[in-house]
C-alpha cells in the first residue's frame, strides 16, 4: 500500500457555510490518531538498538510515520521496541517496564534474539529464548540486526494492526 493512502483522514468532510462537519466512525478517528502518534520507549539492550538509532536519523527518519518522540520513561510511552537480547536477569525488568506503560500498549520484537534467542539459542544458559515468554508481542522482525527498512516496515505493519482495533463497536450476536 502506498504510504500516502494511509495518511488520509478516515471519513468524509462536508463543507458548509458555518464551518463544515465531518462524518466518520469514532473507532476510525481514534485509530487514525493513535496509529500516527506512537511514542516509542528508548529501550535498547544491544546491537539492534544501534540500528534503531539509525532509523531515527535523517536518512530513514521514522518521524515521517508519526513515531516522533522517543521517551525515556515507560510512563509516557505506548510502544516498546525490544531491540536486543533479553537475558534471564533482564526479563523481570522488561516485564516491569511493560507493566508501567499505560494502555493501550504495543510491542515490537526487533531482531532474532527477541524472537527465539537467535544466535544465542544453543549452549547458552542465560538467554531468554523469545520475549513472547514474558510479554505479548505485536510484530516480530527477523534479522541480526534487521535493517532500518525492516524496522520501518514493522512499524507500518503495527499501524495497520491498530487501524483495525474496535472500541465502540457493539457486539452483535
Amino acid at each position: 500500500m502506498d504510504v500516502k493512502d494511509k495518511m488520509e483522514f478516515p471519513g468524509q468532510v462536508h463543507e458548509t457555510p458555518d464551518g463544515g462537519f465531518i462524518l466518520s466512525k469514532l473507532d476510525d478517528i481514534i485509530n487514525w490518531a493513535r496509529s500516527n502518534s506512537l511514542w516509542p520507549l528508548a529501550f535498547g539492550t544491544s546491537c539492534c538498538a544501534i540500528e534503531m538509532m539509525q532509523t531515527v536519523n535523517a536518512k530513514y527518519d521514522w518521524s515521517r510515520f508519526g513515531f516522533e518522540v522517543m521517551r525515556a520513561t515507560p510512563r509516557q510511552a505506548d510502544l516498546i521496541i525490544v531491540s536486543g537480547t533479553i537475558t534471564m536477569k533482564m526479563a523481570p525488568v522488561l516485564k516491569r517496564l511493560y507493566d508501567q506503560m499505560p494502555d493501550p500498549k504495543y510491542v515490537i520484537a526487533m531482531g532474532a534474539c527477541t524472537i527465539s534467542g537467535g544466535p544465542f539459542f544453543y549452549n547458552t544458559y542465560s538467554v531468554v529464548k523469545g520475549i513472547d515468554h514474558i510479554i505479548p508481542v505485536d510484530v516480530f522482525i527477523p534479522g541480526c540486526p534487521p535493517r532500518p527498512e525492516a524496522l520501518l516496515h514493522s512499524m507500518i505493519t503495527l499501524q495497520e494492526k491498530i487501524k483495525h482495533e474496535t472500541y465502540f463497536k457493539k457486539e452483535t450476536k
Binding site: K89, Y122, T124, Y125, S126
Partner: protein, 151 residues
Amino acid sequence: MTTEELKQVMTDLLPSSTFDETGEFLNVIIPSEELLPVMKTLRNREDLFFDYLFCLTCVDWKDHLMMVYFLNSRTHNHTIVIKAKITDTINPQIESLFSIWPTAELNEDEVFDLFGVKFLNHPNLRRLFLEEDWVGYPLRKNYEDEHMIEL
C-alpha cells in the same frame, strides 16, 4: 627482562614453581597458597615491577582449577603469565589480589560467578553477572542446566 632472566628470577623466588614455555609468554605454575607473596614481590620489586594485570581468568581442567594471571610491566615492557593451581574443586579458595591491583576486584567477581572460586579478603565478593540465587557455576565443565539446549 628476557624470558630466561624472568625464569631465573622466578626460580630464586619460589623453587617449587614449574615452567611452561610453549606459548608466547613465559608460563609459571605455582601452588595457590604461595600466590599472594609471589605477586607482591612481582608488583613491588624495582627490576620486575609488574604493574599491569591485563587478564585474569580461570580454566577448569576437571580435576583441578587453574587461575591464570597475565602480568605486564609498563616500564620494563615484559610479560609473564602466572598460573595458580587449585586442587580442591569442591570448595576452591585463593587469595584475592585486590590489594595489589584494583582491577582484580571485578575480574575476581566474574571468576567467582562463573567458576565458584572463593577469593579470600576480597572487599565485595558477589555474583557479578548472574542472579544471587543461581545454582551452579556455568563455566565449569560439569555444569548442568535443564534450560540449556545443547547442539
